[in-house]
Assembly symmetry: C2
């Protein structure tokens, strides 16, 4: 079964490995499950008074200096044991891979098969299979324990005032507890408010959770197109994306070799992988959406379920009756899957087969615990089209489908827009939460203006931060290349960091009890001129260091009490540190002096010499 | 008087000139004042069905193909005639420039004097001088007429539904009329809700307005520090910043030659220039804040008033009693001016001389119509310090000072934070509007998290867009180098474009009646695959084109109905265009057919085959 193919194997030199600056990988072992290794990144700070700082870590073994990486073998598969132990699944001979799966390309022309074949698992009929099944049955899985540990990051150091800090945020109805317990995770998954995307055929993952009562997550899209890219590029893009913090990765490949590229990605991915199966189905019917049917779609779903895809975007909400609602839009239908299904509905003048077959899709995905990401095929592609009837009609259908999938024990999240001006963002979240029973919302941006192609990571970060604050559980990144071309490696990093910013800004505003720890640690480092600590606590230490080095490259400048922005004489923080000392010592002395001399703490000045101004009224310090 | 110095003159090759792609400069001549030239940029579109598109243009003659630029002569001075015609000012022999003004540098070592000397103007005692004086007296100035024309950009093309579109936004109490009249401008300036920064000694400017009932503006900071930069760099940075859309520019130089560098900048700047005079005053006292006094500060104000600086940041709100409020902060005082004044107050243990002399400062600035930008010396420098007592105590003082300045006929805006998490942003605007009687708010960002040095243009664009939406009139940009070093030319551009995005997103959300015209025009171009139009309508055509060219460089690709992101088969918009045709033609046909055959518009499908799902209920298309 395990037949290594050495020909055309990927070289580790193609990918980026090794720890981030001053960081090391640590694994927390939970008392509830000592065989569980929950990963964190631990940043060592220069100041001995500051403890080591732990951050959430999505990067997998690639940043573990002790790990041996073999792309041709894939990552370790610790979840195999957990899944087997539950006794609800069976190994079977999977669907054979056909040349059509790779776009009809000849065996020697394309990307090789992944060297190691694993027989697929599926749920035994009538058994519990999905995380949601277990959660509803009151069973706390290993995945749930791992997730709780991961989400609790840093909270053990929370001081007394932590509860007040939580209250300081505005959560709009989210309820993040001070400590995340496995039981809390279970209850959130059971209710459908959160999903743990974890195909039983993707045992390489480090479990993570998506829900409004957890840290806001981000997704990075990768994938080739017919025009450009290769397997090496895509595997490196995945590893690169998780290095900088992508919580999940969607492989949106639409070119050739997509089956094999997907295999390489999944076997080497510690994060959940999402796909849009209709892209591959379209390849199988020669690129003509009107030739799509249930048979080819079902075949594609099985193919990808067996490979281990963790969540599928399914555009089952694009119904025949919705299509005419898009006719007067400025930008029509901008979702690829949505456009295909609309075309199909119109060409056949009948209801979408995805909608009609939705129950079958649920049954199939349930067997592998593939989560739904119900696609927003009619999302607005411009400010003009935001929150229109087409968009909201589809969202109402997604609510209906959410209930179907829930009844089948499936995990579900809901995709959202798109292009939305700021004042129309909250209505999207409110309607989604209402229609879909608080199922996790997973939005693309939204872009808050259309006028900045080349900067749509920024136009959308504004919307993403806000929609995350309002209750969106996962933010799909947008790169600077949006609308213009396929993102390269640099674009992927820019997109990921930008979305980490948006997600973290949302966590802060929601009042997440542990979010501000990192801001505070970094700000203390900044105020104390611990430059290296400031860089290393940041989302992108390499860029922070490089920017600093552009003007002040010497090592001595890393301890200087100024930077090139203001120079030594104008550094407010340097003066401010002196002031702090002055205040602590000086004010005490002066206060005593004034107390001795009279009642007034300060000698009131003459006040501003204008007509309208009141006299100086010094409030006591 | 006009004595050209050829030695060390600046070469035009140092700066960036010429129109943006497919753009030309046009000047609108108002019927109310035919001698007024109000600049716009007109973009020519490929589609003959789309009219020429006009956008607000801050770039001055540098983008006018017909203009002759001579940096050594400075820009034309059309306002001289308007000011003279008002008869309220007098020419006089200005304060002589001393070597101390340039940081005590020898004449031959530093930046040369600007080659052309102009005698300064000042208001005649007892006369109206400021735009606010005229506004209150019911006089509509040429500046107000120009501003109205400028702000009306594109509104003549507004269709019937424009008023509805305005209502579509959420303005939080702002009231932007459908047409801006000179009389509206006058009333806004009179009330103090808006300022027109326009020193009578800066007749080179193209007048602009800052207020919550106008387009949201942005400021770009430039300036050398003791560590780096030169006059050539700074003049080019100014011209570069306005090329991309900076509405005002602050020269924050703190190194040597600051008097002369400022002269070169002002004489060549068509936008208002702001400064922080205390920076230069500190240079004059050898860099020791405790040696600052009224004499050296007054001298510096006069020096800069005569040069033509349009607005001054004055940190008069940092009072002695406020200083101890900062002692327990995570990041103390992060405003340079604020830190200096706090240090001064503590060292002398007395009230700030800026606060005590505020009436004198008003009288002085009034004579030249220099606008106030009341500095927020105690703004928070970290998420932890946001909205604390120190910050709000100062804001209350700024409210008091606003009333003093208003009584003196001065124009006033109020500076704001800083670092503020999303959920605390609105409280800043609400308090500022209340305390300061709706005087224009002018904020730095705010940054919505501390953890991304190297990306603070993005952390702050999130806050800037939101605070602009809530009512901030001008957004001070933040570049990627914030906290790390002095921005270079690329950083300036990135900062400006990022803030144009934030300002425009705010205009859209406020329901500005003309804002969405550009989004709609660009989105139509996008949907019609008019790639060049999409690029040219964007904020940065050069970057959009370059990104597109990275993968699809050929000219033929500029008319292709796909891009490298999805490739030809997967382009949703291509499919969607076909759908539009199908819908228009096909649905009409099908509807007729169904109408003939029965009552149902669509044949209802079997519906999702789940237990919980309702039957398909096709809403009529």
């Amino acid at each position: 079964m395990n037949k290594p193919i050495k020909r055309d194997a990927l070289s580790p030199s193609l990918i980026t490995t090794g720890p981030l600056p001053s960081s090391r990988k640590v694994y927390h072992r939970s008392p509830e499950a000592p065989d569980l290794c929950v990963p964190f990144r631990e940043i060592t700070l220069d100041d001995p008074a500051e403890s080591l700082f732990r951050v959430y870590d999505t990067s997998g073994p690639y940043t573990d200096a002790a790990a041996t990486i073999d792309l041709n073998a894939g990552l370790p598969r610790p979840r195999c044991d957990w899944i087997r132990a539950r006794g609800d699944t069976e190994l079977y001979d999977g669907r054979p891979v056909t040349t059509l799966d790779n776009g009809d390309i000849g065996k020697d022309q394309g990307v090789p098969l992944f060297p190691v074949a694993h027989r697929p698992l599926r749920g035994i009929a009538g058994h519990l299979v999905t995380q949601r099944d277990y959660a509803r049955a009151g069973i706390v899985t290993k995945e749930m324990i791992a997730v709780a540990e991961r989400e609790n990051l840093g909270r053990h150091v929370l001081a007394e005032g932590a509860a007040e800090r939580l209250a300081d945020g505005e959560s709009f109805g989210a309820a993040i507890p001070l400590q995340i317990t496995p039981e809390f995770v279970r209850s959130e998954v059971a209710s459908g408010r959160a999903v743990i995307p974890a195909n039983i055929n993707h045992p390489e993952i480090e479990p993570m959770i998506i829900g409004r009562n957890f840290l806001v997550k981000i997704n990075a899209n990768i994938g080739n197109s017919a025009v450009t890219s290769s397997v090496e590029d895509e595997v490196e893009k995945m590893i690169w994306a998780i290095r900088w913090g992508a919580d999940t990765v969607m492989d949106l490949s639409t070119g050739r070799n997509i089956h094999n590229i997907r295999d390489w990605i999944i076997r080497n991915s510690p994060v959940p992988i999402g796909t849009v199966p209709i892209y591959q189905a379209l390849e199988k019917v020669g690129g003509d959406p009107t030739r799509l049917d249930w048979a080819v779609f079902e075949d594609t779903l099985i193919e990808q379920c067996e490979q281990g895809v963790d969540y599928f975007t399914i555009h089952a909400g694009v119904r025949l009756a919705h299509v005419p609602l898009t006719a007067s839009r400025v930008t029509g239908i901008v979702s690829r899957g949505g456009a295909m299904m609309a075309k199909w509905c119109l060409a056949h003048h009948r209801e979408s087969f995805l909608y009609e077959r939705f129950g079958d899709i649920c049954d199939l995905m349930h067997r592998y615990d593939v989560s739904f990401s119900l696609g927003d095929g009619l999302r607005p592609g411009s400010i003009a089209d935001a929150n229109d009837r087409a968009q909201f009609a589809e969202l109402e259908t997604l609510g209906e489908l959410t209930r179907v999938a829930a009844a089948k024990g499936c995990q579900v999240m809901i995709e959202g827009p798109g292009h939305v001006p700021m004042h129309k963002i909250k209505a999207n979240v409110d309607k989604q939460l209402r229609e879909c029973g608080e199922a996790p919302f997973y939005t693309l941006g939204p872009l808050t203006t259309d006028i900045a192609p080349g900067y749509d990571h920024i136009t959308s970060a504004i919307g993403a931060a806000m929609i995350g604050w309002f209750g969106t559980a996962m933010l799909c990144y947008v790169t600077p290349k949006e609308h213009l071309g396929l993102p390269d490696r640099d674009d992927v990093k820019t997109g990921v960091i930008t979305y980490k910013i948006a997600a973290h800004a949302a966590d802060l505003a929601k009042g997440h009890p542990a979010a501000q720890l990192r801001d505070d640690a970094l700000s203390r480092a900044r105020f104390a001129f611990r430059w290296r600590d400031q860089f290393n606590l940041s989302l992108d230490p390499d860029t922070a260091l490089a920017f600093h080095d552009e003007t002040l490259p010497k090592d001595a400048h890393k301890v200087a009490h100024f930077c090139s922005m203001c120079g030594p004489k104008f550094c407010s923080m340097q003066i401010s540190q002196q002031i702090r000392d002055d205040v602590v010592v000086g004010m005490a002395t002066m206060s005593a002096k004034f107390r001795d001399g009279g009642n007034e703490l300060y000698v009131a000045g003459p006040g501003p010499s204008g007509d309208a101004g009141p006299a100086a009224s010094g409030s006591a310090g």
